[in-house]
Subunit: 62 residues, 2 copies
Amino acid sequence: MCESNAFLKDGENEVMLMESVDTIEPCEDGLKLMDIFGKQIFIKAKIKEMTLLNHRIILESF
Amino acid sequence: MCESNAFLKDGENEVMLMESVDTIEPCEDGLKLMDIFGKQIFIKAKIKEMTLLNHRIILESF
């Protein structure tokens, strides 16, 4: 399926935040992510880059 | 495949901006979108919501 995995950029590393992300909703001071099972997280970060064909969402802190 | 279609919210309407979007890269004053054929556009807008399983990227003007 076409969900993606969300990673937080941490220097040269990427920390996996959530697998199988379906929806992404920017909010005032961060992002709300929901996976294909309906689990939601809120994170104080912004989108750095998304590559949908690679199923990757790279986030970075403000 | 897992690309998505990008729409710009215009009141109650949604205007198709780009089909088959693969990469999304936020920039200082907008977004750079690239489709699966390598075609790139820049748009002065921000992400309102993304639903990956529905292949939809909804953008809104600043």
